[in-house]
């Protein structure tokens, strides 16, 4: 048989557990458990909304479709800006190490507000016109993105290794930082390579 002191200790322990259980909702107001990893997703999908069938060999006066998506896992609602940029293979991409965006001017843009845990996806249609080829170079005069026309006049030299005139359509993710009240590059970008071919 247990001694009276042992029973006393058991009662004290049970009492303490009871008090802690009763106070746990109040403790939740004061103590904040560490949240999980905060991150954002950025993606481009092909015309069938799968990671396949991306347009590659493109030509003037033909429409192409991809889907752009963003996912928010930052722990609260976020204000994102997605910039669509177009470059030839010699122009700079964003520098992920230095966390700097591409210095190229954005063409199309999306402003997205996303609640935590939600994602957003939108179609991105594009076509080219005023395309010419001369002296191992191709010149894209106009790119139309989601029915908005942009005059780009982008030159690309013949790529001997890849045997094509390579351009890249890429998207950068920017985020509005509430604390410093500026929109900053979120160090994420994705793109698709395009080989400009002659229209027959």
């Amino acid at each position: 048989m247990l001694r009276i002191e042992d029973y006393k200790a058991i009662f004290a322990a049970v009492g303490l557990i009871g008090v802690l259980l009763s106070a746990s909702p109040s403790l939740g107001l004061v103590l904040h458990l560490p949240s999980g990893e905060k991150f954002s997703e950025l993606w481009i999908l092909g015309p069938s909304r799968m990671a396949e069938g991306y347009p590659f060999n493109v030509k003037a006066e033909e429409g192409y479709l991809v889907y752009v998506g963003v996912g928010n896992h930052m722990g609260s609602s976020v204000f994102y800006v997605v910039y669509v940029k177009f470059r030839n293979q010699d122009e700079p991409l964003p520098n992920v190490t230095a966390r700097t965006p591409s210095p190229l001017e954005p063409l199309y843009e999306y402003r997205i507000f996303l609640e935590n845990g939600k994602s957003w996806e939108a179609p991105l249609t594009f076509s080219f016109s005023d395309v010419s080829f001369f002296e191992n170079r191709s010149l894209v005069g106009i790119i139309k993105i989601n029915d908005v026309t942009f005059h780009v006049d982008k030159l690309a030299s013949w790529n001997v290794n890849g045997t094509g005139y390579y351009y890249q359509l890429f998207i950068e993710l920017w985020i509005y930082n509430v604390e410093v009240e500026i929109t900053q590059f979120h160090n994420r970008f994705v793109g698709i390579w395009l080989n400009m071919t002659v229209s027959l």
């Binding site: 009871g18 008090v19 204000f79 199309y108 997205i112 507000f113 908005v148 509430v178």
Partner: protein
């Protein structure tokens, strides 16, 4: 000769005036876009505060997206030189953003009130739970102790069988 000179002067004046008007117009558009951008950011900040206070902000986020769409259209139109479109899209954005600001402030204050009531209830119930738990256990102890003593007194003393001679 005089007529020619007067014509050139007029042409020069018209060109100068047009340039000044264009510049002013562009400045106006830039300042309107900047104003809309600030209004949208301010609205988002208030929505975020309402969300932190515990409000359901799904409706306001949908409106923010609508306003953001107009601002993007305005920015792109401005970059493409379509100032009229830029102005009209900016105005749409501003109207929605200002509406969101008012709604978000109301939602935030009601969410803060709800949160305060909830906090008070939580604290009260926690305190009451702790008191009930301690008092309940004390009562059990008060009944248990005499029971334990009675049971102890009823026990027969055991003789040690392995005591050495």
């Amino acid at each position: 000769m005089r007529i020619l000179f007067a014509s050139i002067l007029c042409l020069f004046l018209v060109l100068a005036l047009t340039t000044v008007c264009m510049a002013t117009s562009e400045d106006e558009v830039t300042s309107k876009i900047s104003e809309a951008n600030n209004a949208l950011r301010e609205a988002f900040k208030t929505v975020l505060e309402a969300e932190e206070a515990g409000a359901n902000v799904s409706g306001l986020v949908a409106k923010l997206n609508e306003a953001g769409g107009f601002l993007s259209e305005a920015e792109m139109a401005y970059r493409n030189g379509d100032l009229d479109k830029a102005v009209s899209e900016t105005a749409k954005c501003l109207t929605i953003a200002n509406g969101i600001l008012g709604d978000a402030l109301a939602l935030k204050s009601s969410a803060l009130e709800d949160a305060q009531i909830m906090r008070t209830h939580t604290l009260l119930f926690s305190f009451a739970g702790a008191v009930v738990s301690v008092v309940g256990l004390f009562l059990v102890w008060v009944r248990f102790k005499p029971f334990y003593v009675r049971k102890l007194l009823k026990m027969k003393p055991e003789v040690a069988s392995n005591a050495k001679d």
